[in-house]
Amino acid sequence: MFPFISFEWMWDMGHIVFMGGLWYAVSILGIGMTYCIIKAALDTQKGDDGGHHH
């Protein structure tokens, strides 16, 4: 799963495509959520009400 931990890891096309795709998707979700949480905290601190949804 990780190049620096798993003993099965090999730098071949299969691992790069499969694990690269997984980490790419997980990164988008993780960065997206982190951005939302940090911005929500900053907005709350500033006293913004965020407006109406949709």
Binding site: M1, M19, A25, I28, L29, M33, Y35, C36, G50, H54
Partner: protein
Amino acid sequence: MDSALIPEGVKRCPFPQFLTGLAVVGAVLAWGVFAMLLCWLKGLNQTNMNDSYGFALWIWADLAVIALGGGAFFSGFLKYIVGKDELKNIINFAVLIGFICYSSALLILAIDIGQPLRGWHIFWHANVHSMLTEVAFCLSCYFGVLTIEYIPLILENRQIDKIPFFHNLSHNMHEVMAVFAATGAFLSCFHQGSLGGVAGVLFGRPFAYREGLLVWPWTFFLFTWSAAAYGPCFTIFLTKLLEKITGKKLVKDNVIDLLAKISGWMICTYIIAKIIDTWYWASVTVHTRGQTLMDFYDDNLLYGLWILVAEIVVGGIFPALILLTKKGRSSESLLWTAVILACLGVCINRWVMVLQVMAVPVLPFEDWALYYPSWQEVATTILPVAYGVILVMISYRYLPIFPQERELNPVES
């Protein structure tokens, strides 16, 4: 009693009636949980799976709910990427259905793997040559996407929304939802496809085997296409069902009409591709492997030619024809017929691609291997249905799932 939690301007049934409903469905849920615990504590000997059936009822249920839950990713794709803004009035419910379907699929897999404590091995010791690894990756990540899409709905609960941080979080998540929806559509295309690809690469089983493009058999593309085509029908079916149960109109007709029309075109194009695929498979692929079409359709009760007709004609051509016409979409009874047939059609397709594949004899001296699920398998397959009903009940009661409900059902004060 719980009126402070109910969205403003809508009417809900009395709390005791709601609790009674929860208790009834909860009893079914408890039965499923009991069977699940039996499978976990005593092992897979509680099932009727055997050497012929490594994949059985659970995997069919898995593939079926994933296809039916496809309405979430396709509606999200249409709203956020294509820009069909009218779908904002049904997208919340599509997300809820998708969340239920995918969490159910993961639950069923957790039972099916026999040793759920080793579930993480598929990530840690990933077999990068397996389509099922791709399915596991994409399924888990897409469930993450659905959770992210469902969270803002929970945060919009009347009481939670009063807390500034949660209000701002919900607002910010809505702002970047297109990014999550695009990621979800990307992940869905691959895991839906790989589920089809698993069957298509079985070169030792000519019933399932298909040629294809590069490493992807045609079933890869057909599964993605069918999920996008039939998933919205399940969303419409459940919306209509909820309208019947609550006695209220929850979504305007133009929204249902748009989704039904898109679904109709998708089913139409899919079924043409499916017919071409079946014709090529029957006339070329099967013959190159020394067999004929009728080798796969014995006259036993389960797997006669009727199942092919049911899947393609009754569950494909009929709903497509109804949904493609304005008259079909605007007639309540025809719309009901179309969405029910469509849901049955895609479920039959998944049944055939999982269970008939296992039933067909692969050696000249073998007979058809028929299989009947044990009660534990049936109970654990009904378990997600009960769980889904409970989640819909709670979400409908406390969350603003249908933005048009207030306008369509004004409450007299």
